[in-house]
Subunit: 259 residues, 2 copies
């Protein structure tokens, strides 16, 4: 009578990349940017930790059209990342996400998904990955689109030494100073500098860049990558000034500067 | 008799990611890591700029099993990147690759491909992308696996601020100093630092890291991502020291350090 049942095998945490068409009116088919294995794993999962449950359900509806879901959408378990993570981010281990992974201790595989692209890269999710390691779960990143890397590859700037620095300050003076700091770093060390901006501030960011950067610095700007309206321009600042390209205020953009 | 034929429309430069199974005995099916669109575009192309023509042909043979090639393998035009690029890299615009893209001026689309992963990211190709922009060609990056980004997402370290710095110095003293520099940068700025090493030096690099890093620094090491023998460990340096994990000397590894 001293028997105890063996602990169930622990589930795996799958990092499930989403398409880059969040909020786009006519999205491309999922298989344009997601490999079959990513879609098949997503269709098998029944437990999710997500940035937003509504968009996760919309994503799974699209998956279901290609690979029928193993568990009906209504029965899927979805845990949203809490408000504090949405607001402050979870990139530095400040949020303990182990509680969101309790189903994995019961043997369920869990998918981590964000609104667009790879979870935990320029998006929430780091705390969940860290919690998975703390719990001894297997972590499996699946392949899908990552706008930063597509933008870097297409920029013509060094991909052997690069940094992504997130958002720049909003205050105009502080932003100008930060741009010059990043330019100095890029020119002195050869390290390409990537950053992003909230879409409605795209035009202001471009103005600030053309004002602050040296004419001989290279500026590459990508938007809508993987979508039918994708745009990439890589040019010297002097050429950007001669022939400006206005930026759409609704489309996420990746900015790259370098030598 | 004053007629001239109109210039042909210029071709597009497609950045075609390859699988991460270069040199692996039993590779997984391509569709595990490459979306249908990437495979379809690769099957339509007849002109390539590549790191190595032999591996490009081997890749296209695998594509052909899923999507028949529009032009037979024997008729495909392949231009290898020259020896100087293989040796010194082409990350800083030092090589003028416009001559490799002359077919695009005749209207042919061209694929840029490296041995593994995304061309121009921790791999040659930047000079070709830059040349495409100089010639006014459209540049389209296709989706596929990027080991650096998969490793970052799975590391549990910040993906909101990160840098990839390539290879560290080989000399032991210089390497130790560089490791401490990168650790200071990571701890002071919160910027995750990623780097790679030639596989046969993996064990020496791990020794150097465990010797140089503070016990409270986090070290994540990934190898074989997307393969059946994938390994990811993210732990404090103190835990790595208590329970060492030997690294295989044949498998490419991504090292990540941070807070």
């Amino acid at each position: 009578m001293n028997q105890t049942s063996p602990a169930p095998a622990r589930g795996t945490l799958y990092l499930v990349p989403a398409t880059l068409d969040f909020g786009v009116a006519n999205p491309s088919p999922l298989q344009h940017v997601l490999p079959a294995q990513t879609l098949q794993v997503a269709a098998q999962l029944s437990h999710w930790v997500c940035e937003n449950a509504k968009s996760t359900r919309a994503f799974l509806k699209r998956v279901h059209e290609l690979y029928p879901l193993a568990v009906a959408l209504q029965q899927q378990q979805m845990a949203e990342l809490p408000h504090e993570v949405h607001k402050k981010g979870d990139h530095s281990g400040e949020f303990d996400a182990r509680g969101l992974l309790s189903a994995a201790l019961q043997g369920h595989d869990i998918g981590l998904i964000s609104e667009a692209g790879m979870p935990a890269v320029a998006d929430p999710g780091t705390s969940v990955v860290r919690a998975a390691h703390a719990l001894g779960l297997k972590v499996v990143p699946l392949v899908g689109p990552v706008s930063l890397l597509l933008a870097l590859a297409a920029s013509g700037l060094s991909g052997q030494n690069f940094a992504f620095v997130g958002y720049l300050p909003q205050d105009a003076a502080a932003r100008g100073q930060r741009i010059r700091e990043l330019e100095t770093l890029a020119l002195q060390t050869g390290q390409t500098q990537l950053f992003i901006e909230t879409p409605y501030r795209n035009a202001a960011m471009l103005d600030a860049l053309l004002h602050a950067l040296k004419p001989s610095t290279r500026l590459a700007i990508s938007s809508g990558l993987t979508l039918s309206n994708a745009q990439i321009r890589s040019d010297l600042v002097s050429a950007w000034k001669q022939r400006p390209s206005p930026l759409d205020k609704h489309t996420p953009v990746v900015f790259c500067i370098g030598a």
